[in-house]
Point group: C2
Chain length 377, copies 2
Amino acid sequence: MQNLNELFTPCLIVEKSKLINNIERLSSRIFKEKTKFRPHLKTAKCKKITEIFTKYFGSRAMVSTIEEIEQLKDCGITDFLYSVAIVPNKLKRIASCLSDNCQVTVSIDHISIANELVNFCKVEGCKISAVIELDFDGHRSGVRPNAEKQLIEIGKCLSDAGLFRGVMSHAGASYNLSNNQDLLKCAKNEAEQTLEAVRILKNASLSCNLVTIGSTPTVLTNYNNDAINELRAGVFVFFDLVQTGIGICNIEDIALSVLTSVISVNREIDAIIVDAGWMALSRDRGTSSQKTDFGYGQVCLEDGTIIEDVIVTGVQQEHGIIQVRKGSEALLPNIKPGDMLRILPNHACATAAAHDRYYVNDKITGEIEVWDKFNGW
Amino acid sequence: MQNLNELFTPCLIVEKSKLINNIERLSSRIFKEKTKFRPHLKTAKCKKITEIFTKYFGSRAMVSTIEEIEQLKDCGITDFLYSVAIVPNKLKRIASCLSDNCQVTVSIDHISIANELVNFCKVEGCKISAVIELDFDGHRSGVRPNAEKQLIEIGKCLSDAGLFRGVMSHAGASYNLSNNQDLLKCAKNEAEQTLEAVRILKNASLSCNLVTIGSTPTVLTNYNNDAINELRAGVFVFFDLVQTGIGICNIEDIALSVLTSVISVNREIDAIIVDAGWMALSRDRGTSSQKTDFGYGQVCLEDGTIIEDVIVTGVQQEHGIIQVRKGSEALLPNIKPGDMLRILPNHACATAAAHDRYYVNDKITGEIEVWDKFNGW
């Protein structure tokens, strides 16, 4: 295929050169710091993109579902870290993924689960190693980095069984920031709190081979700490409007968009109606708390040219309402039913989740490739 | 399978008896009025449920995607109405669905598209009939019901080619109401405005064989108008918290829920963390503008018992945060990692869209059946 207008809308477009630029930007940052990098596969959920990751970053990856391990274990990844605190009834499926070329590490924040993991591995004769999940802003699961008793109890239980690998934390709070100074502070805090837990464990003779932290905004700041031996990020691969608002990318860096057809023009409310509703865009409103609110997405012409101040102001299941941002003097593009537009997403993970394939626009070859993706758990 | 706790979480549960009750409730209302009913397939997107619909309602159905026609045309439906205003580049795929047992009607709100449809059918030698979409609250696509010139122009163009079928409207505004009096008014307005368009067309010798209106809230009020020959509704099949807030169902009628595992208990913020985030629940916040805000969903025990005032207060991709509703004296259930809970959704269509199958809990046989569903366009 060579033309976007041959595609059936709504569908997901990836600009290949932007995708590669985003990966190279992260790669150059990481190699400079001589720290290992573990990309999160939950954003793209795609074999082709995972294979590109292995070329740049090697054999480590983070996942948020076991489905990601099962689907992507033949793409060159041999070391999976499963980010969602494990529960016992998921261990059997993880065990069936294990091989010489597929090691899985889970995350744990409670001694009862550590005990169950140890017991499971003994009974099944398998090895599923674990990190302790840290929670340094008290927002969800995880052990507090200064919770000495809990850390040592879990660490010792895992270590005695040969399953202890280290600690993991995630600066989720970085998503609420909007300038480099705050991001540096957040990155520093993430690293230092994590290292406090590492010290506590070390004092109890529990050594952390893996000290893994990160989020796209903190990884891409200039903060560096040699005692951290692994960084993680996910959404950097596509970027999105939320990351633009945080200030960690430009709107032109966003590699993902939804191609949509104009289905009606409503002059009464000065709106263009398109066939991309919340099914295709998601209901994510991540930019609503940022300085610039993009509604449900920024509107572009079919070729990707941004139409300043024209956004998706409303969505229904299969309808998107496009209007000029309130207070702006901008005009709607002169467009008619059947024409196509593109929408840049608030949150790439959420928009990608609504689709089962990427149409990858390679401007060098002039070809549009189809890269399958998947969803589910 | 016989036990919910054998299921891999997060996943979708349908209570079969509630599903059937919801369908029978609508069915008894419709047969009383001697009006045809056209269920919307976009909510469930499921062969098994479509086959049940054909038993109760016959061979008509509404769809929001062409994928729904392709997937469901062998379930007993022979008369599909495609709800999203058609654009020319979708006609080819529709044409390839047509057969003696599969008739497709599209909706149109612009003369240029009517001309293109007529031309397409002539060139391809096929028949895709059309209704004129009416917009009586000026909110998205559609022709105003009193826009005489437009109505007659489109109607005549279609009629001359033997493709004109009638008019279609949808009382989207009914979703913002919360009492029966307003719903009755809304249903009456929907019918009367639609009939105004029918009169205008009739005066121009354009006869509407199909006069189709409806939304779950307006169809389930007691309003009746014999001049309307078809009603439509979709979400009635599962119901959800938004429909509870509108007052058209009880919370006990909701047939759909997400089964989730507790992955952590955070005493610091009095929260239960579960493995159902926005990926499994959707980001729909439909109840946020209603009298009772359910956050991202109402929490129930594994057996479906509602835990009063315990709701999902936050979601990340694969994490849900469960807390007591602000200001309530209720307590969190005494629960530990590995235990299961269920979440009732704000908006059934959005939550169902995140999954690829239903686990149907049949309390009579004691079995859990798997009913596949699909997504995409």
